[in-house]
């Protein structure tokens, strides 16, 4: 009842689909394994983290960092950004070589005590997420010259971007910290950099 020709053509179709799909999948897999290039170096800076420890450019070395600028009394995008950061912070709980850094753009109001409360409110219970504070002048300088953000109208006019920084304190890529699609690309890049860091040790 079943002709031999039928079987051969069914097998041919399956092989064709299989080979085609394998090709597409391998292309797609390769395409997401490309590390974003170096944009620029993070300049030296000097800040204090919410637990009172000093935090400077060297603290970025040998770790992958995700950094953003926020202020605790911000009504608009910051809660969304911090919430997304919190999700990442939880998801990467087993990866101490990934750190999260939030720099306040409103140091007048955001004292270390307030930053501590903010950290607690975001479920921070270890060293992987730090909230940094410095003088307004220095923050503005770091934001503008260090990270190439528009910083004329701080605190309200701070950027909503997340910055990915590699283990040599190079800025690698910017992501929209309020956009889920952007964050999933960030997640992929974090994985690539962590894998590379792990293999290089």
């Amino acid at each position: 009842m079943i002709k031999r020709g039928h079987i051969i053509s069914i097998i041919a179709v399956l092989v064709f689909l299989g080979v085609g799909a394998t090709w597409v999948i391998s292309k797609a897999t390769q395409s997401v394994k490309v590390l974003p290039g170096v944009i620029k170096q993070v300049p030296s800076f000097d800040m204090t983290s919410h637990n009172g420890e000093p935090f400077n450019r060297d603290s970025l070395l040998n770790k992958i960092s995700v950094l953003d600028f926020i202020f605790t009394s911000c009504p608009g995008p910051c809660p969304i950004m911090s919430n997304n950061m919190k999700t990442l912070y939880k998801q990467y709980k087993l990866h101490p070589d990934l750190q999260f850094i939030s720099i306040t753009v409103d140091p007048e109001h955001d004292s270390l005590d307030i930053l501590n409360l903010y950290a607690d409110a975001n479920g921070v219970n270890d060293n992987r997420w730090k909230f940094l504070r410095s003088e307004m002048r220095k923050v503005k300088k770091l934001s503008t010259n260090g990270f190439l953000f528009m910083s004329d109208n701080l605190p309200a006019g701070h950027s909503v971007k997340f910055v990915l920084i590699d283990e040599n304190a190079n800025i690698r890529q910017y992501y929209n910290g309020t956009d889920e699609a952007s964050i999933s690309i960030l997640r992929n890049h974090i994985n690539l950099f962590l894998e590379r860091l792990r293999n290089s040790v």
């Binding site: 799909a21 395409s31 952007s182």
Partner: protein, 309 residues
């Protein structure tokens, strides 16, 4: 009338191809390849280089391969929609008296539009897991309706090709049981697939096989139900091969194809569990399940026709 039949068969072939491409988008991780809908980076022809991106879309979202894979799915979707539309027109012109044909192909056309809309929602919700599953289930409803319509049209063209067969009444329940098993298997399968995705996000950089082991009881239900399905199909085959019932060659063809597919599904499924969660294996595992569902609907239609004497 023959024209309708030809177009409906074409619709079946292309819809299956489309389900395959849809699965390819999923396993290639290309679902967000175009961040907007229906256009891709605000263009009808997706960008071929990053310089073509419009200003208002973040360039970090652009990945040439993923954009074109996703767009291939949308273009094929539009093409299939067109073929189904043509089928629908022929059905209305030539099968005025056969409500079964007209109603099922028109519903298929309607659901194809809903499917497109659901595709846009997938982009809006950044691939919400429930919406992904609905997107697949709707595709299966569409293919089921076209298969039903096509076989019913064949009946009108050819006369009753099931007139000599006398299936026992309870074969209906066996066929429906198989159908139910396949549907549940597909839903549980998508749950496993989705669970794996969530688990991968929550446990980055951990091997897929280990993540699969961490998943809940769904995976056992999937296996147990698979065995039950195999048993039911073997029983159905025994009935169909019983000389007393004088089964049609179509029925025999369908049940044997089903058996081969289930065999292949077991091999593919075990490969995923024991070796590696390979995207290409996931893709064929999903696609074969859609073929199984189609065969099951074909069997039901044949049984229905065998009762129309």
């Amino acid at each position: 009338m023959k024209k309708y039949f030809r177009f409906s068969v074409l619709s079946i072939v292309f819809t299956y191809l489309l389900i395959f491409i849809g699965g390819l988008v999923r396993v290639a991780g290309a679902g967000m390849g175009c961040p907007d809908w229906p256009k891709c980076f605000d263009r009808w022809i997706p960008p071929t280089s990053i310089t073509q991106l419009p200003d208002h879309i973040d360039p970090e979202k652009f990945n040439l391969v993923l954009a074109w894979v996703e767009y291939l799915n949308r273009l094929s979707g539009a093409f299939v929609g067109f073929i189904i539309l043509v089928s629908c027109v022929y059905a209305i012109l030539h099968f005025k008296n056969n409500k079964r044909v007209v109603f099922s192909i028109s519903s298929a056309l309607f659901f194809t539009l809903v499917e497109g809309w659901l595709g846009s929602k997938l982009v809006d919700t950044v691939l919400d897991p429930v919406t992904i599953t609905l997107h697949l289930l709707l595709a299966l409803i569409i293919i089921g309706l076209i298969i039903y319509s096509s076989i019913q049209a064949y009946y009108d063209i050819k006369g009753n090709f099931e007139k000599d067969s006398f299936y026992p009444y309870h074969i209906k329940y066996i066929i429906l049981g198989i159908f139910a098993c396949i549907v549940i298997e597909i839903i549980v399968g998508t749950e496993i697939r989705g669970g794996l995705d969530i688990s991968r996000k929550d446990n980055p950089l951990i091997d897929g096989v280990i993540l699969l082991k961490m998943l809940g009881p769904f995976k056992y239900i999937h296996t147990i139900l698979g065995v039950a399905l195999l048993g039911l199909v073997l029983y159905l085959r025994k009935l169909i091969y019983d000389n007393n019932y004088n089964s049609s060659e179509y029925m025999i063809y369908a049940v044997n194809s089903m058996l081969i597919l289930i065999g292949a599904q077991i091999v593919l499924g075990e490969t995923l569990v024991f070796f590696d969660v390979k995207p290409i294996v996931q893709l064929f595992h999903m696609w074969f399940s859609s073929l199984l569902l189609g065969l099951s609907i074909a069997q039901y239609t044949l049984w229905e026709i065998s009762n129309r004497k």
